[in-house]
Symmetry: D2
Subunit: 339 residues, 4 copies
């Protein structure tokens, strides 16, 4: 932590600032400049969180030096975390594609979709049973019945299932069905939920919130990890900006930034990022080119009739075509497509 | 709903679009232009949510005409909603100020703060027992013990209490203590939580999410109201933008926009919006000038030692000074300051 | 400047970093921490701009301590800058209102508008002769003919005129007519234009760019001032964010932040900030409450027929009504309304 | 254009709205709904720009149907525009890489850089002689002397040169040296400058502004094209958002969106988008994967000593390495790398 003092700070103020910091067990180094004085604080920076440094008279600004996350940081683990799923190591050399409908709408559509995406090379099935919807009047999912359908389709096809959990009270239930529990963008800072899924050992797919910085996302992962669950898969799915041409703004650079900052696997969700069916392919290619460990893609037997997110869902043919055109980009990235 | 078709749409495509819409019980009106055809859809627009119009061949764009919220809309209720709190009607002629520490840190500091803010004119006490914190390593509140302290201080001072609920499992507990339950910005789209507090009749203070549009905020209110709880108080607390001079960007215009769009009361939170102690006063004046029904302000006996948000907390003298300088702005707005 | 080194930085790297900094005449102070080393650089920080510190091996981050602007900074001038205009000191105790049409559309409409706004208390007339328009097919102003009309109306009414300059080649021409030259939001970082108007001594009304930070705005002012023109009036007019309810997002907090950071006067433009006629009044009240030195407001004889910005223009009655309801807010702010 | 009327609009108001629209030569179609009436306006939508529809009593909202740009639109030209540069067709099957220093700092460094980037496969040389800098105290380029150095290096190496023009008064001078004139992000809405370069026939590299929407960018291109210059090359270089991990937020999806909306070539600038040397490669791969027609990349002999943008400049080895690792992504995109 570096403290910058106000112009004209008095010696008494300087002494008081140093006392507050040193009382917490850190050492201070003072650099006198012409107009400003800098106080470098060396030691366990976390302890400084218990003081409101900016409220101390004479303090103008405070610069953090340490990253506020630990378990999620690249420094904590030299090797990338690899999370087994459907015979693939997510975060390993292989690129994984997870696909399926936005919402589980019935057993038949789910099974047909699972077979189609599995045949095309997807290694896991996505599908929401509990759906966060902006309007209370929209379809909000089939609930436990949807989970049962997911389990039945897994039994039939062998595809592991990825499904969302929205409520601390559902964690146990969802965990009894799902291979991966998804935390949606709107719940990325639902700390009770993060804490609860942190008590599991099941992999958690954590989607970036619409206005979350990279640091916010890694702190959300830290919530889960600090409870004992190291199996966190991050997912870039677009952020909210002034742009209107796409549903969200796909923050592609977040992928290589995350790969440097953390040892956790990083997926991309081109369906939500663009919100447009015609953008799924180019965004998928780009995500892989930028180093993503995999993709999660919405596929529906008949997008026009989808209960949710039809605008951004691929049909079976489009998905199969995507998988085949994706392959050379995976190879260019020096990886292989799990299938 | 107005559907804009693609250039070169065929008659078959047009017929198919109209069929899909009319099958849902709406009527269609076709306007043929030179390059585009418009299809006006008249009737219960909500039913169109079950179709992905953009996925239908020939559709280029869709323009919604109806607002997606109803109960929260100005059209639903001619008169402003007034919610009794501490002898004031929130949303009425009087302006209310709610004040207190960010977090409950102990019984003594809470009582001292309550007495100080009450003496200066605050009509309700805020204070968090369950704290959403960006880092899992930060102080996360005293939990039920904090709620007990709040209740004890209410008994002592007569000030009603406003406190946050973060988890569906805590709703009953928090409701057994709180006069107003607060939903924080990070939980504004925690739909399970909104649904749960919708089952209460206790007032809910709903803070705008960091990247929530006005429509998103009103849809979150709609979640609560559609469960039967009409007592929703909205709160503008700043949004996330590219700006760095302030913690958030105070979207002042949201106040008059909300006053036009909805009958619900609208408060402002100048502490979080600016994130700086020196901005609390000007932002408070401006919020009242723009039509806010009240303010919620962080006050701490010794901001320098606050367990959270010390940078933006006023001390007792600053708060008393704010209350007296606020008065002429309240009068200029044609209102009175409850006290 | 504080340099934070990478974990595992070598002594050679440290030596090289210090050499580079010291070669520029600054002194360095090294603070060794457990994981990171801090190097405080004391002296003329500006010289460090000639080195790309982040490119030096071993450097992880760089924190600037000094503000990059000088002449515009509060530290440069203890007293607020006051700029005479129409018998008022902009930046003084009085609040000034500048009003008029978006574009000059003709001599008659301009004269009528000038008389109406003057009678209601405006102290200067705005009106564009050169108009920056998003589309090349929109009305782009009457050019020099418009300037002549402005001058004629000034002669008739005594109101000084504020008008935009868009091109370095027009500066001399516009300066031969205008009392204040306006630099529009889209040209806030047109550095050639800033440099050119810096050679004048005429006041410059500098509008904040749509994505300009406070620092960017003050650096734009610095461009003008560093050429010798100290008469810069800043103007907050809304920034671009994800919000859609208003044309721009009025960054109200920028007003008190600027009043602290700089000695220059600060106006607000509620017409562009909200982009809606019904928001002009509440945004005006709020701007004054937050400490603005004045307002610039669009007024048109018949907004429905305005060649530009009709959606946000007040008619004469609305403007007169605004001026009278504004008065108590001006008084609450401890100021008087020039008139 | 679709006009949505207010609830309770009167027949007189409806008639007045229709009259205003029909007076401009458009036809109207009225769709009566339960709560709202829609008025579809069919004909030359552009003429409606001369009326402020939102100011007409009874109007609630207006939805544009036609795109406001024409010459730049995909509908205007069936075939992609191809612009010859250095033996390549920009916008054709080949992918072009333009590289060079941010600023021209001297003849020797420029020649060395040109030789290095040319040897690695770049087909044009970039380098700024006139530099837009946020601070007036930063290095602002060598001016005409820099242009002469660029021309000398072109003569020596055969590489065509791309260089920025910032001022209408410099257009003729810069055009007398440059093969491509660059309009920087901060000048994207400097309409005088756009108009001036529109009078040339030399290719213009138009960079997207920091807060420009896709529509804003295409309207800026339209300014140039409407003056008669069809040779516009667009460039995505990152937008300003709340993100802090990168200098700007690379809006990758803008690339495929632009390829659909316009026939003009689209480049990407990974150096400015990320602002970090270590992100140039992944962003380059991704841009090509998403369909970009080429890249513009900052390269410097010794980034640590660069007069500007050293943090994001590659050295010669890094650039050569990028070019060779880029090749498989170009092939995966079904294209070839010009060289």
């Amino acid at each position: 932590m570096i403290i910058v003092t106000k112009r004209g700070v008095t010696q008494d103020e300087l002494d008081h600032i140093r006392e507050r910091v040193e009382a917490l067990g850190l050492r201070t180094h003072v650099s006198q400049g012409e107009h400003r004085t800098l106080i470098g604080c060396v030691g366990d920076e976390e302890r400084l969180q218990s003081v409101s440094l900016l409220s101390i008279p004479g303090v103008e600004a405070v610069h953090a030096v340490m990253k506020p996350y630990k378990l999620a940081s690249r420094e904590f683990a030299a090797d990338p975390t690899r999370i087994p799923l459907g015979g693939v190591q997510v975060g390993g050399q292989e690129v994984i594609v997870i696909a399926g409908p936005c919402s589980v709408e019935g057993g038949d559509m789910l099974l047909r979709t699972a077979r189609a995406v599995g045949a095309a090379g997807a290694r896991a099935l996505r599908g929401g049973a509990f759906k966060p919807r902006t309007s209370p009047y929209s379809f909000r999912g089939m609930g436990e019945e949807g989970l049962e359908m997911l389990a039945a389709v897994r039994a039939e096809t062998g595809l592991p299932i990825v499904t969302e959990v929205m409520d601390t009270r559902q964690v146990e239930l969802v965990a009894s069905y799902a291979d991966v529990l998804q935390i949606g963008a709107r719940n990325m800072q639902n700390y009770s939920l993060l804490t609860e899924v942190g008590r599991l050992r099941r992999p958690i797919l954590l989607k970036r919130g619409m206005s979350a910085t990279i640091e916010d996302l890694l702190l959300a992962a830290e919530y889960i990890m600090s409870q004992g669950n190291p199996n966190v898969i991050l997912c870039e799915r677009g952020i909210r900006t002034f742009g209107t041409a796409t549903r969200n703004t796909f923050d592609l650079a977040a992928i290589p930034v995350l790969k440097k900052e953390t040892h956790l696997p990083v997926l991309a969700d081109p369906s939500h990022a663009g919100g447009r069916r015609d953008l799924v392919a180019p965004l998928s290619y780009a995500a892989i080119a930028a180093g993503a460990d995999g993709l999660i893609i919405e596929v529906h037997p008949e997008p026009e009739s989808a209960a949710s997110d039809g605008d951004q869902s691929l049909d079976f043919d489009e998905f199969a075509s995507l998988m085949s055109t994706l392959r050379p980009f995976v190879a260019a990235a020096g990886r292989t497509l799990a299938s």
